[in-house]
Every structure is written in C-alpha cells, then in structure tokens.
C-alpha cells in the first residue's frame, strides 16, 4: 500500500501540508512531497483540490452498524459509593443519545449495589443493567471485563463511555480488546458528526501540546474514556427507568487476581508538575502566616500550594514548591497567583497553565499581562473572601 504525489498536477497550494495530521507533507521546489512520517492515512487526498495525490490502497469498507443502538455509561462504584464521573458521563450520554435518537443505559456491577440504580436513573439512565454477585464485590479487571463483554454481546450498544479513573483506564482497554472495538483515551470533548452519525472524540496529545479528534468508524461500540470533571451533570429527577438484571456466567476460577487488602491513605501531596490546580504566593504574601491564608484557599480549591523564588528564599515554602525558571515548570488547569508580581523568571514556569488568575495590589504588575482574570486588591481581603465563597459553593454542590 502506498500513497504518492503526481508532481505535474500539484500546484503547490499547501492544503495537504496543513491537512496532514502527522506532519509528513513537505514542500520542495513548490511541490508537495511525502516524507517518512506518512502513515498513508489519506487526509491529504481529501484536502487536495487537483486530485494530485494518489493511492493504490482500496478504501476500507465501513460495516453496517445500524443494529447497534444505545449510549452506555459504565457506572463506577467502590464500596457502594458511586464515582461522580459516572454521573457526569450520564449527562453527556443524554446529549449524544438525543442526537442519535437512542436511549441511555448505565451498567452497574458489584455486590448489593442495586440501591444505586435509582440515582443513575435520576441522572439520565433510561435503563440500568445490573450485575450483582459476591465475586463482583471489589473491582477486578477480568471479572468486570467479562460482565461487560456479556452485556455488549447481548445488547449491542453503539457508544460506551467510561470514566478515565484508575479503574476506568484499567477496564476500558481490556473490554475494548475483548469486544473487538476501538477505544479513545482521556477525551475532553465528545460530539456526534451529523453527516456520518459517528462519535467524534477529542483528546489532548503530546502532553497537552496538541488536540486530536479521533473517530472509530470500523467497530462498535465506539468506546471512549473521559476525564473526570469535564462533562456536565444533567439531573433528571422525574425520570422513570427500568432495571434489567444480568446474571453472569463468570466463576471465581476464571479470575487471575485476588484483592488481599484495600488501604485508604490520606491524600499525599502530588508532584507540582502534575497538579491540576495550583495556588501560588510571592513577596506580597509577606510572611509564613500569610501563606496560611493561601493554604486555606488551596484546601478549598483542592489545589497544591506553590510560590516564587522569594517565597522559597524567605523559607515560606520548600524548594520542591518553587515555580519558575530555577524551580519547577507547571501546567495546571488553573493557576492562582497571589501577591506575585510576575517576573519573567516566574512566568517562564507557569505560562502554559490553562487558566491564570492574578490577585495583586499593583495594577501594573506584569502578572496581569498573562492572566485570564485579574483582581486588583489586597490579597489579605480577597483571598479569605474567595476561600469563603468557594466553601459555600462547594457546600451547595455537595448537597
């Protein structure tokens, strides 16, 4: 199988170089040329106006999947506690199902977990497939994969969403291989392509430097794991749903693992470079007591505490928490800079944060130039107020 450029037909418009997802198209002497990175994916062929890019590959036929219906969500529970991400996924599933005119189903696996079925219905499930068995009490890869495989074979869903948790990321690839389906990891956006009716799965790649949209045309269900906290919860308090009980054929001998112990640990501080939310302080925080305020804010946000070089040199934070050129480079989703002027050395370590908040007395502080949202004010007023309102907001959400 190969792909090539008919040089005489190429007018050097560069559409193909832009279309290539693998950056394999090069321009030489005003003509397109295919480089080593080409995977023959054909994106350039679609982009070319002059039909100058040819292939000897036969197009793959897309099987008929019209008998695959339903948008499924794996309802992750541990010890009878539903993981919030499953409820978030039910929200997204409702949207997708509406566009496809399909139904939403949740798959609930465990031992004595039937009480959770009602919650799943109240957050969007039309059907709950319930598999209960003592051997399913704790999550085990092969056991849960086996149950999902049985259900998929019996009911042929079109889409299956799984939370990108430690359990979900263990389970989803196992199920995908077993049911013969493609899987996209850690999606942050999901939508339906209206023309083809397929699921478009968008995810970050290369450490978040690139976003990629992925399709799964050749297999069903179209499977995706989704990061927690990305999709919106849509409550459906008045919904009537049905619970379908599934009896698994699985026996304990078929499972190669045994859980000896589950140990809960108090949350240890994560590596700053991997932190999703960071609260940072600089010279304006004044002293260690000032950092106590930031610490409260960090607790309310579920954030890690960090600081500038000054904060480290003054002994307010340990070296491992210094952000900047001589410290750690971070790229959290949210970076809240309090009393940080924003010297270039500091900015170099936090510029790639997705969203930046600056709280500073000086409206001309350079930190405001890189901030999404700025508050000009005394951090000793603003930070405690922010902590207070966040705690109140969290209370509302948790209720």
């Amino acid at each position: 199988m190969a792909i090539w450029v008919e040089v005489d037909l190429c007018d050097g418009c560069r559409r193909c170089t832009r279309a290539c997802p693998y950056d394999a198209m090069e321009m030489k002497d005003g003509k397109a040329r295919i480089g080593d990175r080409c995977t023959s994916c054909g994106a350039c062929m679609d982009a070319c106006r002059n039909k100058a890019i040819l292939t000897d590959a036969k197009p793959r036929t897309i099987p008929d999947f019209s008998n695959h219906k339903g948008v499924w969500v794996f309802a992750e529970q541990r010890g009878g506690q539903l993981n919030r991400v499953s409820v978030e996924l039910l929200g997204k599933a409702q949207e997708l199902a509406k566009e496809l005119n399909h139904k939403v189903a949740a798959v609930l696996i465990g031992d004595q977990v039937s009480g959770l079925a009602k919650t799943l219905i109240q957050f969007g499930a039309d059907t709950v497939y319930l598999a209960e068995n003592t051997i399913l009490r704790d999550y085990r890869t092969e056991a849960y994969a086996c149950v999902l495989q049985e259900l998929v074979a019996a009911h042929k869903p079109n889409i299956m969403l799984i939370g990108a948790t430690h359990i979900g990321r263990d389970l989803a690839p196992r199920v995908s291989r077993r049911v013969g389906s493609g899987l996209t990891a850690d999606c942050t956006e999901l939508s339906i392509d209206s023309a083809e009716g397929i699921l478009l799965q968008t995810r970050p790649a290369f450490g978040g430097n690139v976003m990629a949209t992925i399709a799964n045309r050749f297999s069903r269900p179209q499977m995706a794991t989704v990061r927690p906290g990305v999709m919106e919860v849509i409550p459906t308090p008045d919904k009537e749903g049905t619970v379908v009980t599934h009896v698994t054929q699985l026996t304990d001998e078929q499972i190669g693992t045994k859980i000896l112990e589950i140990v809960k640990e108090p949350k240890t501080h994560v590596d700053l470079a991997e932190a999703k939310v960071i609260v940072a302080g600089g010279r304006g925080v004044n002293d260690a007591a000032g950092f106590e305020l930031l610490s409260d804010l960090a607790a309310a946000l579920g954030a890690e505490l960090a600081g500038t070089r000054v904060a480290f040199e003054e002994g307010w934070i340990p070296a491992s928490r210094q952000v900047g050129q001589t410290g750690v480079t971070v790229r959290p989703d949210l970076y809240v800079a309090c009393g940080v002027s924003g010297a270039i050395q500091h900015r170099a370590g936090m510029m790639d944060s997705k969203f930046i908040v600056a709280i500073n007395k000086d409206p001309y502080a350079p930190i405001f130039k890189v901030a999404d949202w700025g508050i000009v004010g005394d951090l000793f007023d603003v930070v405690p107020e922010l902590t207070k309102q966040l705690q109140a907001a969290c209370q509302v959400m948790c209720d």
């Binding site: 994916c41 430690h166 290369f206």
Partner: protein
C-alpha cells in the same frame, strides 16, 4: 524468572512545541528518550532478575532509530532486545499496536512476567498494556508501584488508587504496568552500552513477516480508530480585570471558574 519488558521511544514532550503559524508539531531537534514509566518497568525487571535470576527481553515497536532505546535498556541490564520495525506497522492505534506486540510476544514464547510502563508521554493512553494482556489471555494489574512477593505461581503487588492502594495477588504468567516507585531507575553501565554496540549485540530486528502478521491486521489498516484532525489548544488569555467590591469580584471570579468547569 523470564521477563519481557515493553518499552517505547518517545519525543521528550516537554520540548515539543507547535509552530504558531501552521499549528503543526515542530519535531526537529527534539530529543528522543525511553518513555519515563518504561524506565521504571526496566528498573523493576532488573531488580527482580537480581533476586530471582532469569533473563530479561526488551521489546519495542518503532522506526530503526528506536534501536537507541534498546541499547540503553541493555545498558541498564536487559539481556536481549527485539525491535519490531516495518513500514507496515506505522500509523497503528492501540488496537493494532497491541495485536502486533501480542503476536511478537507469542513468537518469543517463554515468559513468566510481562512488564510495561503505565502510559507513554506522547499518547498518554495507558491502553496498550491491558490490550496486550487481553490478547494473550493473561491477568493484569496496572498502576503497580511495588512488588512485595514473588513465587513460581503468583506475585503480590501494590496497585495505586486515587485515594490509597490495593494489595493484589496475581497469578503468573501476568502483565503488570508500573508507575514510578520508590526506586529511581538506574543509569546504564558504559560496559553494557558497549556490549549493545558490538556487531554481535543481542538485538534482533523483526518485520511483519517474522511475526506472521498480515498488513490488513497492523498499522493504519489494522487500526480501528483514526485521527481525523489535529489542532492547537487555545491558549489565548482573556486578560479581563474583574471590577466591583471585593465580594463582587470574587463572585464574578467563581462564576468564571464554573463557566470553564474549573470547579
């Protein structure tokens, strides 16, 4: 104990930048490294070998330059290495990759344990390990950070959870994916690196025919998912000053957090 370690050569993503004009990745001049989690898998394998003996075979799929990663692995203490390299392998998604690796492992044959890193920093999918395990019909444990005990029939490992860990007994043969543990991966020994550079270095190159796979099952053609489009994430700053009383500004800020799903 015979161990197979799956590794991947990856671009050092902290250095990968996008061309602001074209939105394409700038790959020139970006160094390639052994994927960080895979270094921990190698370290785990070498530690196990020191205690229990046996051989370590390192397996990777990639372009010819991935040979460098294999040499480094031999430098760290692996006995043998195999490079799966064939233009037909390119463009593979995790489905086709796990099939290719699975077929290669069947071709290697004799093993008690397969180790891999949890995920590679260029794709971050964490899918290939479990998919290989399923292809081979082996039990798996992912997110392993400690191996407590090893017997001829099973291992006892610790698996990281979001709020703690599990102690799991897993029958052998099995596949484990590891995350950074207590021990820092060792540096390669110069003497062993020289061994990897010799003409009779214990490194083999296998192509599609060697592992008995057909082109329809591998690479882009054997993949079930396709990348349709890539684009640069938006990093434009809003640059908005919030105004009003302290409590009003804070209220607005929290509203922005909610709009952008930050809380």
């Amino acid at each position: 104990m015979n161990i197979i370690v799956l590794i991947k050569q990856v671009p050092n993503t902290s250095e990968v930048k996008l061309d602001p004009k074209t939105g394409n990745l700038i790959r020139e001049g970006v160094e390639t490294i052994i994927n960080p989690d895979d270094l921990h898998a190698l370290e785990t394998a070498v530690t196990l070998k020191e205690t229990y003996g046996g051989t370590i075979t390192v397996l990777t799929m990639g372009p010819p330059q991935a040979m460098d990663a294999l040499s480094e692995a031999i430098g760290m203490g692996a006995d043998k290495a195999i490079l799966l390299s064939d233009r037909a392998f390119s463009g593979a998604d995790t489905w086709a990759t796990s099939y290719t690796l699975g077929k290669a492992i069947q071709h290697i044959g004799d093993y008690d344990l397969i180790l891999a890193g949890r995920q590679a920093i260029d794709g971050d999918t964490a899918q290939v390990g479990p998919q290989v395990a399923d292809f081979l019909g082996l039990p798996q444990v992912t997110y392993v950070f400690d191996i407590e005990a090893v017997t001829t029939d099973y291992v006892v490992v610790k698996r990281r959870l979001e709020d703690g860990y599990e102690r799991i007994q897993c029958s052998l043969p099995a596949l484990l994916t590891v995350i950074p543990g207590a021990k820092h991966p060792r540096y390669p020994l110069v003497s062993r690196l020289l061994l990897a550079c010799r003409e009779k270095a214990p490194i083999k190159i296998w192509n599609a025919a060697d592992i008995r796979v057909t082109t329809a099952e591998i690479g882009l053609d054997g993949s079930l998912t396709q990348v349709i489009r890539t684009f640069a994430p938006k990093f434009e700053r809003q640059g908005e000053f919030l105004e009003g009383s302290t409590s009003g500004m804070v209220q607005n800020l929290i509203a922005r957090f909610k709009e952008n799903k930050l809380i």
